[in-house]
């Protein structure tokens, strides 16, 4: 551990990467966010399987994206999309941060915390069938590396030569936000100079079936897929599942300045907590007190007052919980209704990328800080009355607007009654 590190260590984002349903790569994704482009489409396989929700968000990954970061041998008999998405996003983040690949040495000052909910469900399905057919000896060598939860962080660590802690976190839909905060704390504590963090989510019927069975998915808009994800809308009908990954290189300000790395934003602080499945919290619903506490603690950790927040990137999934979430933001941030910050749901365009959602949406948040804009929350034209009562319509834009976003806050909430909240700020030397 370096002696100079302390709680005053500043941590900045120097690289980002993205694989989202509406864009692969930062420039494509930024363009999609500005245009309000939906990545949600009708998925015939879901219809064939008689899903209630037959729409979803699948990233438009092409072979050249894969070839840029994985060898033909690595992707031989590969059937674990989450690892591929994580690798593409991590590769972009690493390169944007100006860091080298192909170094023969491992770097003890670089670690990886890259989360996921599941890994290689399709691979597992094929393997289980072979096992049941008594063909275990014919499985081949790569079932474990594609289906172990930590597969994604292992692949990334090998790609960049990480020699610090390499692990995968998992906290349902909080995973990506949690990964960024865990990496931030690891650096603040002096254990590493640099962390590659983020999260990924595979997709497909075997992952999405459980959500469909719970009836938490949007099942009324199969004929108009791009209207199906409707966060904050009075006609919201549930979440639209998606897949994808977001990645960040975060490092000490000192390291970034020394390397003359581009600084995208500063991580000011945040909080990760749980409602303990008490006080209204359950395995599938958040304890409202804990949500408020998480946001309050994040602001305290960042040393930021509620009125300093310019943009809220909410969890906002298009379920009945959206008005409750907005009420929590209003309670904690305080102030006059007219002074409320911009509020948005990236899920309106990408759907709910589940374990990838926190990272995918944090990339959107950081891009808006970097490039001074607020992306629209599409399909919110009929704002839910309980939200309209709390937030001025113009603070939930339906078209992209230009605005200086100095300080933004992002929250994610997950099954298990877990919460994560991060505060990001424009870098100012």
């Amino acid at each position: 551990m370096a002696e100079h590190t302390s709680n005053n260590t500043r941590v900045v984002i120097t690289g980002m990467g993205i694989v989202a349903p509406n864009g692969v790569g930062l420039s494509d994704y930024e363009q999609a966010l500005r245009e309000g482009r939906s990545g949600i489409a009708f998925i015939p396989r879901l219809a064939d399987l008689k899903f209630g929700c037959q729409v979803g968000g699948i990233p438009p990954v092409e072979q050249h994206h894969i070839d840029a970061c994985l060898t033909p041998l690595q992707v031989r008999n590969f059937d674990s999309d989450g690892i591929i998405y994580g690798m593409i996003a991590a590769d972009e983040a690493w390169k944007q941060a100006g860091l080298e690949l192909g170094n023969e040495q491992f770097d003890p000052q670089t670690g990886v915390i890259f989360g996921t909910g599941t890994s290689g469900i399709e691979k597992l399905n094929a393997s289980m069938k072979m096992v049941d057919e008594q063909k275990v000896r014919r499985l081949g060598s790569n079932v474990v590396i594609q289906t172990m939860a930590s597969g994604v962080s292992a692949f990334i660590a090998g790609h960049i030569g990480a020699g610090n802690q390499v692990t995968t976190n998992s906290s349902a839909c909080t995973t990506g936000t949690e990964a960024l905060l865990m990496g931030y704390r690891h650096i603040k504590a002096g254990y590493a100079e640099r962390m590659l963090v983020g999260s990924t989510c595979e997709h497909g019927p075997y992952l999405w079936a459980g959500f469909d069975a719970m009836r938490v998915t949007s099942q009324r808009y199969n004929d108009v897929p791009q209207k199906a994800s409707r966060p904050m809308s009075a006609s919201a009908a549930g979440l639209v599942p998606g897949g994808g990954a977001g990645a960040f290189v975060i490092e000490t300000l000192e390291s970034a300045l020394k390397r003359k790395a581009p600084i995208i934003a500063e991580v000011l602080g945040g909080q990760i907590n749980s409602g303990g499945q008490r006080g209204g919290g359950t395995l599938t619903a958040p304890n409202p007190k804990a949500v408020r506490r998480c946001i309050t603690d994040a602001l305290t950790s960042a040393d930021v007052a509620g009125h300093e927040i310019d943009l809220i990137n909410g969890h906002l999934t298009a379920t009945a919980k959206d008005p409750d979430e907005v009420a929590a933001w209003v309670d904690v941030l305080g102030g006059e209704k007219s002074a409320f910050p911009y509020l948005q749901s990236t899920k309106s365009m990408v759907g709910h990328c589940l374990s990838g959602s926190g990272a995918v949406e944090l990339v959107a948040t950081a891009l808006q800080i970097q490039h001074d804009f607020v992306h629209p929350s599409i399909n919110s034209e009929d704002l839910h009355e309980n939200i309209a009562a709390l937030v001025p319509r113009e603070k939930i834009p339906q078209q992209t607007i230009s605005a200086s976003i100095k300080t933004a806050i992002k929250a994610s909430f997950g099954f298990g009654d877990v919460n994560g909240c991060v505060v990001l700020r424009q870098y100012n030397s």
Binding site: P72, L73, R76, N77, R138, G140, S141, N142
Partner: protein, 83 residues
Amino acid sequence: MNDAQFFDRLKEIISPYVQNQEAFTDLKEDTRFIEDLQINSANLVDVVLDVEDAFDIEIDNDSMEKMLTVEASLKVIKEKLEG
């Protein structure tokens, strides 16, 4: 199939797993899979499965453990084909 054809067929099978192309170009009977071709040891299992498919044979674990060079692999393949 003559010896040269067996050799070429095996060379084709191991090709996707090879990480040292120089040694592969210069493939010989005594070339070692791990040390010379730098095939990941985990991939030896995949080489054996591909050999099974290519020659329609079954290779038991004892035979598989011997398949560490070109020569040893060809010997196992021929033994299994002769049954």
